[in-house]
């Protein structure tokens, strides 16, 4: 039976971390399962979890008044969702909804923040890796913003 710490190396975000560090992080984590259509987290609620996807697919949704929610990104095995947990008491700015049956490790935000405070080296390493993920998300989001497949200026 695999422990959480055994599962973490599947996730590129944790690649290269020492075994002790993985143990520390695993202490904040638990396995979760979501059936298709179920929400892992909801826009507007307090964001105090961080998800690492192991199987399935999650759609990042933004609700738009007057119409059905828009999916702006899908996340797949090996990817992570959520960074608002870095700052206490921040709400989720989007929802995460399972598209397929999804298995993930869910990390408690307060627990992670505590571990980062206690062990600054681990904290720095985690922040650095999350920053890389955020930077790539931003880069990709900007590409989506360009609406490159749209009609262009001279419609």
């Amino acid at each position: 039976m695999k422990t959480i710490a055994d599962l973490l190396p599947e996730i590129p975000l944790f690649e290269g971390l020492a075994a002790e560090q993985l143990e520390l992080l695993a202490g904040c984590g638990r396995n979760v399962v979501a059936e298709p259509g179920e929400y892992l987290f909801r826009e507007g609620t307090t964001a105090d979890t961080f998800f690492a996807l192991r199987h399935g697919a999650v759609g990042i949704e933004i609700s738009v008044p007057g119409r059905e929610p828009l999916v702006v990104q899908t996340l797949h095995p090996g990817e992570v969702a959520g960074w608002s947990w870095i700052f206490p008491a921040q709400p989720w700015s989007f929802s995460g909804r399972a598209i397929e049956r999804t298995r993930a490790v869910s990390f408690d935000g307060a627990c992670l923040r505590g571990k980062c405070e206690e062990d600054h080296e681990l904290g720095y390493e985690l922040m650095r890796r999350v920053a890389i993920v955020m930077a790539e998300r931003l880069r990709f989001t900007r590409m989506q913003l360009l609406d490159i497949y749209g009609r262009g200026e001279a419609a």
Binding site: R151, G152, E153, A154
Partner: protein, 392 residues
């Protein structure tokens, strides 16, 4: 390299007094003579009736953004340089009908071919300067070189008799020596003339450049040139070579311009450039055209016409969504880089023949030789500081 070595074959002499006979022989052979004439303050290439139409005793003073005719102290027939038009206008006309289509029943239409099917008239180009001979050769590369040659251009080309004239003086805007395109014609002509004025004597050295040229020359009142006459003609070219008003260092210029695509000089010149396109119109090698579809009011007949175009126009590079070369900077850079650099990759030679027309006819006196010199002198300016080149 200035004057070329001694003329090949036996050079002959034609006296000024007999020059009219050249017109007579050409007309008899069925050629319409196109050559220089003074009109509206410039020397332009038009149909000539005889010697009297040549701009005898006129010369041109040219500099950046400036062209003036001035009287000479002698009566030289070709004592000028090049004006605002070139032989491009004759061979690659500014407007041509390519084909016409007529609407038919049931959403159908019928196409008839246009100019491509017509036989062009026989023309003699009188007074083609060496730079312009090279320019014609560059047009040949651009229009005949590949899988789909311009057959209308080829037909016009085949019906032309070329009489080159070796320049007796250089204009302030000339730099054929730098571009190795003159001042002496070496190839591409049927006959070449060098005008010599020496005290009372006024005569032309005549050299044959082709069988057609030799045949025609046989009907002219020519005599054998004496060695000192050949020397005198060569000396004219030597003198001209020493009078170049500009120079352009062509060493490694392709790589120079390719690696300086972000040089700040492009921004600087674009503040002056009006993107008026004069340079492209007067340039003897600019060959760009556009195809226009024109319909009549009833929508029954549609014509496809080919017209001169210029890379300076905003929509020259239009693709859905906008123009690739939107800024004036990018368009000036495109023109100059194409002319001096890309042309080499495309056709194996520079596209510039050093005629200087673009310098004289630019309303703000942008000088291609100066722009090239500045970039060369500040090679690498504006490049990213650290090795930011590599890449994806």
């Amino acid at each position: 390299m200035s004057a070329s070595p001694s003329p090949a074959g036996d050079a002959k002499v034609l006296d000024r007094a007999d020059f009219e006979s050249l017109f007579g022989v050409l007309t008899e052979e069925g050629y319409e003579v196109i050559g220089p004439t003074a009109r509206d303050g410039a020397i332009v290439y038009e149909a000539l009736g005889g010697v009297e139409d040549l701009p005898a005793g006129w010369t041109d003073e040219q500099d950046g953004g400036s062209y003036r005719l001035r009287r000479r102290e002698d009566e030289a027939l070709f004592g000028h340089n090049v004006g605002p038009n070139s032989w491009k206008g004759q061979l690659h006309p500014p407007d041509q009908l390519l084909w016409r289509a007529k609407r038919a029943a049931d959403g159908d239409f019928e196409v008839e071919a246009g100019v491509a099917a017509e036989q062009p008239p026989r023309r003699a180009f009188l007074g083609v300067r060496s730079c312009d001979l090279h320019a014609i050769s560059h047009l040949d590369d651009a229009l005949l070189g590949f899988d789909h040659p311009d057959t209308a251009y080829a037909a016009r080309r085949a019906n032309v008799f070329v009489i080159a004239v070796n320049c007796g003086q250089a204009a302030g805007t000339c730099f054929c020596v730098s571009m190795q395109t003159g001042p002496r014609a070496s190839a591409g002509f049927d006959l070449a003339l060098t005008e010599v004025l020496d005290g009372d004597r006024h005569w032309f050295l005549v050299e044959g450049g082709s069988e057609a040229g030799e045949r025609l020359a046989a009907s002219l009142p020519l005599r054998e040139a004496r060695p000192e006459e050949v020397e005198a003609a060569l000396a004219v070219s030597e003198r001209t070579a020493g009078q170049m008003g500009r120079e352009l260092d062509t060493a490694g210029i392709k790589e120079l311009l390719y690696r300086n695509a972000e040089h700040p000089r492009w921004d600087e010149v674009s503040e002056r450039c009006l993107t008026c396109g004069n340079c492209t119109m007067v340039c003897p090698t600019c060959f760009c055209t556009t195809d226009e579809d024109v319909t009549d009011l009833a929508g029954e007949t549609a014509e496809r016409r080919q017209r001169w175009d210029s890379c300076f126009t905003l929509d020259f590079s239009y693709v859905h969504g906008g123009s690739v070369r939107h800024s004036p900077k990018s368009r000036y850079r495109q023109w100059m880089t194409h002319k001096l650099a890309s042309w080499i990759d495309q056709f194996g030679s520079s596209g510039c023949v050093g005629c200087g027309r673009c310098i004289a006819w630019c309303p703000v006196a942008i000088d291609i030789t100066e722009e090239a010199a500045v970039i060369r002198a500040t090679d690498g300016a504006g490049a990213p500081a650290a090795g930011g080149e590599e890449e994806a």
